[in-house]
Symmetry: C2
Subunit: 349 residues, 2 copies
Amino acid sequence: MVAEEHPDRTSGNSVLPPRRPTIYDVAREAGVSTSTVSRALSRPERVNAATRAHVLTVAERLGYAADPAARSIGAGRTKTAALLVPDITNPYFFGIIRGGNREASAAGITLVLAETEESPDLEIRHAERLKQNVDGFVLASSRVPDEHIQALAEHHKLVMLNREVDGLSSVVVDPDDGSRQIVEHLASLGHRSLAYLAGPLTSWLGARRWRALSAAAQSLGLTARRLGPFQPAVISGPAAADAGVGSGATALVAHNDLLAIGMLQRLAERGVRVPEQVSVVGYDDIFGADFCSPPLTTLAGAHEKAGRTAVDLLVAALETRDAAASVRRVTLPSHLVIRASTAAAAPRA
Amino acid sequence: MVAEEHPDRTSGNSVLPPRRPTIYDVAREAGVSTSTVSRALSRPERVNAATRAHVLTVAERLGYAADPAARSIGAGRTKTAALLVPDITNPYFFGIIRGGNREASAAGITLVLAETEESPDLEIRHAERLKQNVDGFVLASSRVPDEHIQALAEHHKLVMLNREVDGLSSVVVDPDDGSRQIVEHLASLGHRSLAYLAGPLTSWLGARRWRALSAAAQSLGLTARRLGPFQPAVISGPAAADAGVGSGATALVAHNDLLAIGMLQRLAERGVRVPEQVSVVGYDDIFGADFCSPPLTTLAGAHEKAGRTAVDLLVAALETRDAAASVRRVTLPSHLVIRASTAAAAPRA
DNA sequence: TTGAAAGCGCTAACAG
DNA sequence: CTGTTAGCGCTTTCAA
């Protein structure tokens, strides 16, 4: 502990400590040049093993840690990525956020989170603001038109979550097979008609779900109607429930669990019994889907894994020199969790 | 200093654009020096209004945006703060995260989120890792011993959320008055005994809740027992419910709603009727507390505001030269939301 | 394998 | 009020 004097920096009465050690301190202390220190830290293979070991020892002793800002200034990378989600309070995104965060910290990059409040405008504004701070984006359930996304992608690495865009990497929890599972389940219970309570028109996933739902319905001989759009939130449950009941369908499939839970509440209020009079199905299997009443039949997927995978793809892309080479489309499986909100269809009135 | 060529940067065939404009570009284009540009952007009052307007126009036209890394390298501040929470998937923290994020982006600083998984070790590791990237921390429901926190505080600005520590700023949703409200409610229903299903021993808030609960119980002539500790999660519900029932208390107060909801599920399984046989109360009023069965009586508070306030205090501290002068303790009010999980005490067996 | 030296983009004295 | 001139801490040629 050689303890040099830095009289000007060491004014002990300050709360802040003297100064963080820099590569200059390490270099001096280790008797090498700053570039050697830099290399020992970043490009280990290009330094004599013994030298490197020595440098690392000294760095360790001094408590040296590279300043990420200084590091990123020369080279363009900030080692930071942004995750944009429409609604932080939707439990659906917890898993994604957690997975994203974990993968990011495993990869040594920091993740910043932004909430777009289901607004394409706000999403764009956030992206604009963040793009100077981050190397890339994960856009979860993006509501922005394809053109804007393509534009963003020209200057930044970017991975889509729950949406596919030409030429970009994406991670999607299978909406097609999942929707088929829902329809098959309902068909097997004797339902002949279903209504889909749609989410935002700007939702790629919503469009996809409806498409798969109606295709499956057709092939199984059910009728399917699409109602809405509704905000994908509990608050829209009443409107959706009323519309669903009004449609005469015996099975109601909601855009997501938030909406389904809101519908359940409304149906209870109106005295419509679930599942005896009408069956209800959601998507996502969020927190709460297992303890609402009745517990909700819903399509589950590995959301945390989705978040992790998205960040993983982004990190991979960040490390690639060549842009187009790294685009990959990942589809994660989904499975129907059958609970008490679905049952045999009520006999036709 | 006239219009240099950067032919190597302008290769238009690359996907990435030539190069982001710097203050040098703006300066040249505007016919002023770089420092004038810098000042026009950061310290507007120290530049002639006309000059400034001109510089801003040019900057705008060039699409100039300051590089935050370069900016932070000289001056120590990174314009970034970290928010540490024990459990991202606890809906309780949504509000905090949302509030924190909003306040941060309003203040022009970026917030990074980290999950400590209820582990003091992990919390410390995250703090260690992040402290080179951020100017300050908001520690929500920190599980770390006071000493460590004080140590961290020596080098970084820091605000506690749901915990008070000597010499530090904090924001707390009132646990004392809230607990009193709970006990009064139970007393008014004729309960004479309650059990508190405790959370982690490292939880400051948990300790505080228990203290207030038992004080209020004593002054109202109820007996109060503390059971546990339990993990503050749905998964610990069965253990807590069983312990609570075993205690013979007619009212069970859980450390938080997650635990309470888990208990409700277990009680239903065991055929113990709520609220007829036993009343259940939670803390936090999280998502789901209103639609579990029965809907949960719980202590609500303005969580989003708490998150916002915490970041606000941090920002204020960041701007203060003088450390100790900026410490403030904020207590936010809480109020009991009475739902269907509490009712008149069952007659003594 | 190593060192010297030139930046990276911005801020901050210090003159003028 | 504005320009000159040093750096901030690190990476990266380019020589040696």
